[in-house]
């Protein structure tokens, strides 16, 4: 008898009061506004990176390389906050591999240390080094790479041989070209590419400096044009905005799917836990620059942004409006309070990683075998993300937007969109 009663109770909570359509569309409007502002900020910062790269190539110097690195680090701040839009928005998910793919076999692009090895079972092109090789064979066909252009990177090199580790474009390819390999393993220190890798004439180190500059320029130009496109998708007439606003329940579901998928499978699992479990510094998300602590932190902040309906732009202004939090609170205030608490708890944990890293205990050091302090820092953030995911599931239930999971037959074919 008890079980039957519980079942009825469960049913009644599952069928929570449907939100007013108007509330939903306001919440979705805020979400799209935050997406637009976040991508526009990413674009603004990518253009600043483009200027810094142009300056480095025009007049190579230690200061110019440092300027480009600083611009890259700043560009990551808004971009990482957009990752929450990936899951749940097919327009973003289909596109983001060009911009933020990781991890990469960097030997595809440029010279690497001997310890890197050569081609592997999984990737025959792992040590192709396109900067040093103006022509090469790809899948039996001769490729003319005498001119390094955005088209070459995007059309022929990126994911060449259908190997995901062949990342020829995006933030991490640029990161490698600015920092070089981090050869310190799980000890302190990032990559130490000399500025002379971009120097002219006899000053050029490691050869092919002009081609290296061409590559850096092509990759940065491509990043800017990709971000221009995505910013447009979220503008007033943009397709991504229209897709989200088209159907209230589905739009709300897309927000929650993005939050949950990034929290759990992607960040807690793939990016954080796996690195600790493998003790592998290459499992660092921003491994060349040692910026992983920020990468994780701003991923987490992006999740919080879309829930509380507030985003702080790179110029300090704030985009805010009706929030998903309001909607959940109206359905079940306890669920909302729990989710807010857990999002804040995650930011505290991610903040501790960032704090320790900025004080010199870098993320790769945290990954070292036997680093109890590092493991504890990372795993408590993982636990916080897992707890947050459970609260997100409860929000899905409270809003009654989960039943659409089984209405369409194509939903389950896409493991990245379990709630769609």
């Amino acid at each position: 008898m008890r079980r039957t009663m519980t079942a009825l109770v469960a049913l009644s909570t599952a069928a929570a009061a449907p939100a007013l359509a108007q509330d939903q569309s306001e919440v979705l409007g805020t979400y799209a506004d935050i997406a637009h502002a976040s991508y526009e900020d990413s674009l603004i910062k990518a253009r600043a990176l483009q200027d810094a790269v142009d300056a480095l190539i025009a007049e190579p110097s230690a200061a110019a390389l440092q300027g480009a690195k600083q611009a890259w680090l700043e560009a990551r701040v808004p971009y990482q906050q957009t990752e929450v839009f990936r899951f749940g928005n097919p327009i973003v998910d289909d596109w983001e591999g060009k911009v933020n793919a990781w991890p990469l076999d960097e030997g595809l692009i440029d010279y690497v240390d001997d310890a890197y090895g050569g081609a592997t079972d999984a990737n025959q092109l792992a040590a192709l080094n396109v900067i040093a090789n103006p022509t090469f064979t790809l899948g039996g066909e001769e490729v003319d790479a005498t001119e390094i252009t955005p088209d070459l990177l995007e059309g022929q090199l990126h994911e060449a041989g259908e190997v995901e580790a062949n990342v020829a474009t995006g933030y991490h390819a640029i990161e490698f070209l600015l920092w070089g390999q981090d050869l310190n393993g799980t000890d302190a220190g990032a990559g130490t590419r000399p500025w002379t890798d971009y120097a002219a004439g006899d000053d050029c180190s490691n050869g092919n400096c002009d081609r290296r500059g061409d590559y850096l320029k092509a990759a940065t130009d491509l990043l800017v044009s990709d971000l221009e496109w995505m910013t447009g998708q979220w503008a007033e007439e943009g397709e991504a905005r229209a897709a989200v606003l088209e159907d209230g329940d589905a739009g709300i579901n897309a927000i929650l799917t993005g939050m949950g998928s990034l929290s759990y499978g992607e960040q807690a699992g793939e990016r954080m836990k796996l690195g600790v479990m493998l003790n592998d510094p290459e499992e660092e998300h921003d491994c060349f620059s040692d910026n992983t602590h920020n990468s994780h932190y701003y991923d987490g902040l992006g999740i919080r942004n879309v829930y509380v309906g507030e985003y702080v732009r790179v110029d300090g202004t704030v985009v805010s409006g009706a929030s998903l939090s309001d909607l959940v609170a109206a359905a079940d205030s306890e669920v909302d309070a729990e989710l807010r608490d857990r999002l804040d708890a995650t930011m505290t944990e991610l903040g501790q990683i960032k704090t320790a890293a900025e004080a010199g205990f870098s993320y790769d050091m945290m990954l070292a075998r036997g680093s109890d302090a590092g493991e504890a820092l990372i795993m408590s953030a993982v636990d916080a993300l897992v707890n947050q995911t459970r609260a997100i599931e409860r929000a899905v239930t409270a809003l009654g937007v989960d039943q659409i999971a089984f209405e369409g037959s194509d939903s389950l074919d896409d493991p990245n969109a379990v709630f769609q």
């Binding site: 039957t4 079942a7 599952a14 992607e266 479990m277 075998r369 089984f406 037959s409 493991p415």
Partner: protein, 329 residues
């Protein structure tokens, strides 16, 4: 009798939250106990004789038992990343090869201390590190007294330790937590529905993992098949694993559902029949158009099981799919 009664009540009451007890008693607990037992036998066998020839039968037994619980990615297998340490796959970046090679080259002293070995990268532990050592030609012919022998023993001991911990934590902690869903102070499962949904999520995730990864990874694309990436191909187990995973998921579906599940049963039967008739033990056939088509057909049938459990079991339990660890890239 009790189950029949509950089933009747469910029919009257419409969608019902049920099946958690049955899934725990008839699927999870026996499965985790069996894996602990087989892993312990593998460890004993390794202590007795570390040679690959002697150890392979016990290895296969332990792996077979693992298939029964591999999908239970919540609780004891999630905590501390134990699932990854037991079976690190897919290994898209060749980490097992690199890590095992380095352990052997360095004669890493972690093998002499269980606590130290537990700190080793998951790519150097568990079933896939053991597979390298027992089946890869690069390590063949090691003998008592060689470093490789002590590494095999350390891997077996570590596996057994983890398997025992998983079984006891399910029995002592996590199963009670699921059974007491909704009771005061249980913040993990606020209602029976949450417990049922968590188990249902492992079912769907397990099915998706079989289709997308265990079959999908070696399939690669038409132009770039990747048979060398097939799970456990060195031990010749790729297809045997898929059959075992599907059998385990069928058991979970049956125990989780009180009502009859004819669509689900039919979908499982079809996929299992196709798998058994495949005659392609390590999916080497994906390199030929015909062979690839046959593996693809199996993949489609596994997807059909997912559809069936979604339309049949989910509404009966009043649940949907939660987030799962495969939601990332």
């Amino acid at each position: 009798m009790r189950r029949a009664l509950v089933a009747t009540l469910c029919l009257i009451a419409g969608p019902a939250v049920a099946g958690v007890d049955a899934a725990l008693d008839e699927h999870v607990l026996p499965g985790t106990a069996r894996f602990a037992e087989r892993a312990a036998a593998f460890e004993d066998a390794a202590q007795e004789d570390c040679s690959a020839e002697a150890l392979r039968p016990a290895y296969h037994d332990a792996f077979d038992a693992w298939l029964g619980i591999a999908h239970l990615g919540l609780g004891p297998l999630e905590d501390g990343g134990r699932g990854l340490a037991i079976a690190f796959w897919p290994d898209t970046r060749g980490m097992v090869d690199r890590t095992v090679r380095r352990l052997v080259a360095d004669e890493d002293p972690a093998t002499s201390d269980a606590d130290a070995f537990a700190e080793v990268s998951v790519a150097g532990r568990g079933l896939f590190a053991a597979e390298r050592l027992l089946f890869d030609a690069d390590y063949a012919g090691y003998a008592e007294g060689d470093y490789t022998c002590s590494l095999v023993r350390a891997v077996a001991k570590d596996l057994s330790r983890m398997a025992a911990a998983v079984a006891s934590e399910w029995r002592e902690d996590f199963a009670p937590l699921m059974r007491e869903a909704g009771s005061d102070g249980n913040t993990r499962f606020l209602s029976e529905r949450e417990a049922a949904q968590a188990l249902f999520t492992t079912l769907v995730t397990g099915l998706e993992f079989v289709a997308d990864r265990r079959l999908g990874v070696p399939m690669g694309s038409f132009d770039a098949p990747r048979p060398q990436m097939a799970e456990a191909r060195r031990s010749g187990r790729s297809l045997r694993n898929v059959v075992g995973y599907l059998e385990a998921l069928k058991e979970l579906a049956r125990t989780l559902s009180d009502a009859p599940i004819p669509q689900t049963e039919a979908a499982f039967a079809q996929a299992l029949e196709t798998a058994r008739e495949l005659e392609d033990p390590v999916f080497a056939g994906v390199e030929t158009p015909v062979g690839r088509l046959r593996v693809e057909a199996l993949q489609t049938e596994v997807d059909a099981i997912t559809q069936a459990v979604g339309s049949e079991i989910a509404p009966a339990l009043g649940v949907s799919v939660g987030f799962n660890s495969a939601d990332g890239d």
